[in-house]
């Protein structure tokens, strides 16, 4: 309360000076406002904001609790690590469940897609932010954003009907035939060239996460101070050298944020992956053969899971997915804090 008053008095003084030039502003500030607005307003607003923020935290916690509670039957039966490393997922014969194949599938697809998409995404960002004329940059920006706006089920459909058959006919089949002729023992490692499998899903995933890296990277580039670039130019750096020495190091934090956002998206992506990965629920996976991820097995089997332990296992997979996402986010936050440098500390 008291603080507000003093703030008001501080504001009042300069206003006297600018009375003629800035009448509107000073009048606005000087106007007597109602009691509710003057004293309650700020407090109500802060309560409101606090409540909203708190709801987000609460939702997350409740979600984790519910996931754990509903998955507890499976986790108790197989043990926390038993379920984590269980390699059998058999809802019919043995009625035994383990999440390990899905965890492996999730990590391979998300890390793989990140590795594939990182350089192209960075290149797009460098081109639009530093090289291209503004009109072209505008078009490219919009188109990249558009990729993020396409529903994943549409991308999945395109994958089923266009991309996977194309990959099969252009690459998988030819490579597979070549392997059969030259080194047949490698064939099982390479996998079944049907087109629907872990490689196809990873590539599609890579396309889907490019915008997340690109957008945040472009934003980070735009925040690089003009002086930083000018200083590099003054030293006689070429354009590429400026980008390499002055821009990218300064924008490191933003780039990493983009990468981590992409990673989070890749871990959780469900529909497109479920449609393209081939959904094989047991290890070992092959390079292009079918596999499965945590979200894909949940979306596949949740609806018709009749046995209680089956349903509980699926929810437990969701719980592990929750934990993995949480860990990834925490690592991301740590890395970001560690690597986002201020201008003074770059190079």
């Amino acid at each position: 309360m008291k603080k507000r008053e003093t703030d008001g008095s501080v504001l009042k003084e300069p206003n006297v000076k600018y009375q003629t030039s800035q009448t509107t502003l000073s009048e606005y500030l000087r106007k007597k406002r109602s009691f509710i607005y003057r004293t309650l307003g700020d407090r109500l607003f802060s309560y409101f904001i606090f409540a909203l923020g708190f709801i987000v935290i609460l939702t997350t916690i409740v979600m984790a609790i519910v996931l754990y509670k509903d998955g507890a039957e499976a986790i108790k039966r197989y043990g926390f690590f038993g379920f984590l490393f269980g390699r059998v997922w058999d809802p019919a014969m043995k009625i035994e469940f383990g999440a390990f194949p899905f965890i492996v599938g999730t990590l391979i697809t998300s890390i793989g897609s990140l590795a594939i998409s990182f350089v192209p995404a960075l290149a797009v960002a460098i081109f639009t932010a530093e090289y291209s004329p503004r009109w072209l940059a505008h078009i490219i920006d919009n188109l990249t954003n558009l990729i993020a706006a396409i529903p994943s089920v549409i991308i999945g459909l395109w994958g089923i009907f266009v991309f996977a058959p194309w990959m099969r006919d252009t690459f998988y089949m030819n490579i597979y035939m070549w392997i059969l002729d030259n080194n047949p023992s490698f064939a099982p490692i390479f996998g079944n060239p049907i087109g629907y499998g872990i490689a196809t899903a990873t590539i599609i995933l890579a396309i889907m996460i490019v915008p997340y890296t690109t957008v945040l990277t472009v934003d980070a580039f735009k925040k690089v101070p003009k002086e930083q670039r000018e200083a590099a130019y003054a030293l006689g750096a070429t354009k590429w050298e400026v980008v390499k020495m002055a821009v990218i190091p300064y924008a490191r934090g933003g780039i990493l944020a983009g990468v981590m956002l992409s990673f989070g998206r890749a871990i959780g992506e469900t529909m497109a992956v479920a449609m393209l990965i081939g959904n094989k629920n047991n290890l070992p996976f092959s390079i292009i053969g079918p596999a499965s991820t945590m979200p894909s097995v949940i979306v596949n089997e949740f609806r018709e899971a009749v046995e209680n332990i089956h349903l509980s296992s699926l929810i437990a997979v969701g719980f592990y997915l929750f934990i993995i996402s949480l860990v990834v986010n925490l690592i991301a936050a740590y890395i970001q804090r560690k690597f986002s440098l201020t201008g003074a500390r770059t190079v």
Binding site: V88, W89, D90, P91, A92, M93, I160, F161, A164, P165, R168, N192, I194, G195, Y196, G197, A274, M275, G278, N279, K280, N281, N282, P290, S296, V299, N300, E301, F302, R303, E304, A305, V306, E307, L311
Partner: protein, 364 residues
């Protein structure tokens, strides 16, 4: 003009209100949920039945999957459930303990599964028998020109193409039916894989839904999968003829599916009759069931006797007149054997001990 339309509106509202009162009965909404496979049929039945009752009875059916249907039925949040798998002994026992009466599985329609394939240059009508198709899905037969396939199809020139197995990745009644067939015709399948709404597939790629399997099969030369018959028919896919237990090669048809169910059924109709003993029956067919309580007052969602009676009337209509809708929507009609068993179960349905099922059936 405006006043006229206002008047009409008023008259309509009044007549609606009066209509309800004139009949002496309130409108009833029957709430059900469960399997997605019969959902189009139930929705069409709902429309037809609403018209047949002059809008008095509406049916609200949520297609949430068989598992969800059984769960919500047990938790009594719906008036009737719908499932492609009958209630297990365990659930039946639990319900008997908690409500003092049985749970009834009433056959409402038939599901059938056909083998779809994409072999360049070959139309529908390849013939398979149980052991061969099981070995294909076990990954033990890997080429289309395998001797065992050629023996069944002596007149067809089969390519040396590898066989690509496509199965459903989502849990589904279709998979339950298909794997139960494979379990019955192959010991190796029975011992290694078994049957359920989703299983641990020994080979092949999984695709989501009928449309997913169909999409991959159509896009992949050499692919073989399984779809519901209606889906294969509507999408012009090549499908196989299967040899049944009597040794007859049966082209899939609605009649052959109905015939498969026209056998000696147990009184509670809880039976998987894949690999049917009927010599003219198609071997991969099964019921979709409607789930109801014997003591209907125990279902917390059914709040009064009128609702229970309307539900019974709807069930009776659905298994008789409602069956006319089946074939245009891609479902086979129930055979008389199943309808008789359902009648016997409906006769036992009670409201606080009053045999309302029998009263309605005898009153009709």
């Amino acid at each position: 003009m405006r006043s006229v339309s206002k008047l009409i509106g008023l008259a309509l509202t009044l007549s609606l209100l009066l209509g309800i009162n004139l009949h002496g009965q309130r409108r009833v909404e029957l709430i059900g949920a469960g399997a997605s496979f019969p959902a189009p049929l139930i929705t069409a039945m709902a429309d037809e039945y609403r018209d047949a009752t002059n809008g008095r009875v509406t049916i609200n059916y949520q297609s949430i999957g068989s598992g969800g249907g059984i769960r919500q039925f047990s938790e009594q949040t719906i008036m009737f459930g719908m499932s492609e798998a009958f209630l297990s002994d365990e659930i039946m026992k639990n319900i008997e303990q908690s409500t003092g009466g049985r749970a009834f599985n009433l056959p409402i329609t038939l599901a059938d599964v056909v083998v779809t394939y994409n072999v360049p240059g070959i139309d529908k009508g390849l013939v398979f028998d149980g052991p061969v198709i099981a070995d294909i899905f076990l990954g033990r037969i890997t080429r289309w020109n395998d001797r065992r396939i050629r023996n069944l199809n002596p007149d067809v020139r089969l390519p040396r193409h590898p066989i690509q197995v496509v199965h459903r990745s989502d849990g589904s009644g279709t998979t339950n039916l298909w794997t139960s067939y494979l379990t019955k015709v192959s010991d190796r399948w029975a011992n290694n894989v078994g049957f359920a709404t989703s299983v641990n597939w020994p080979t092949g790629v999984g695709a989501n839904g009928n449309e997913g399997v169909a999409g991959i099969v159509r896009n992949t030369p050499g692919a073989i999968g399984y779809n519901s018959f209606a889906y294969a028919l509507l999408n012009n896919m090549s499908y196989a003829y299967l040899e049944n237990s009597a040794g007859n090669v049966i082209p899939p048809s609605f009649d052959a599916t109905s015939a498969a169910a026209n056998i000696e059924l147990p009184t509670d109709t809880r039976i998987l009759f894949t690999d049917t003993p009927n010599p003219i029956g198609y071997p991969v067919a099964g019921f979709a069931w409607m789930l109801c309580y014997e003591n209907m007052e125990k279902n917390r969602t059914i709040s009064n006797k009128q609702q229970a009676e309307e539900l019974i009337r709807f069930i009776i209509w659905a298994i008789t007149d409602g069956q006319q809708l089946s074939e245009s929507l891609g479902y086979a009609q129930l055979p008389s054997a199943a309808i008789q068993k359902s009648y016997a179960m409906i006769r036992q349905m009670k409201w606080n001990g009053e045999p309302i099922g029998r009263n309605i059936l005898d009153g009709n």
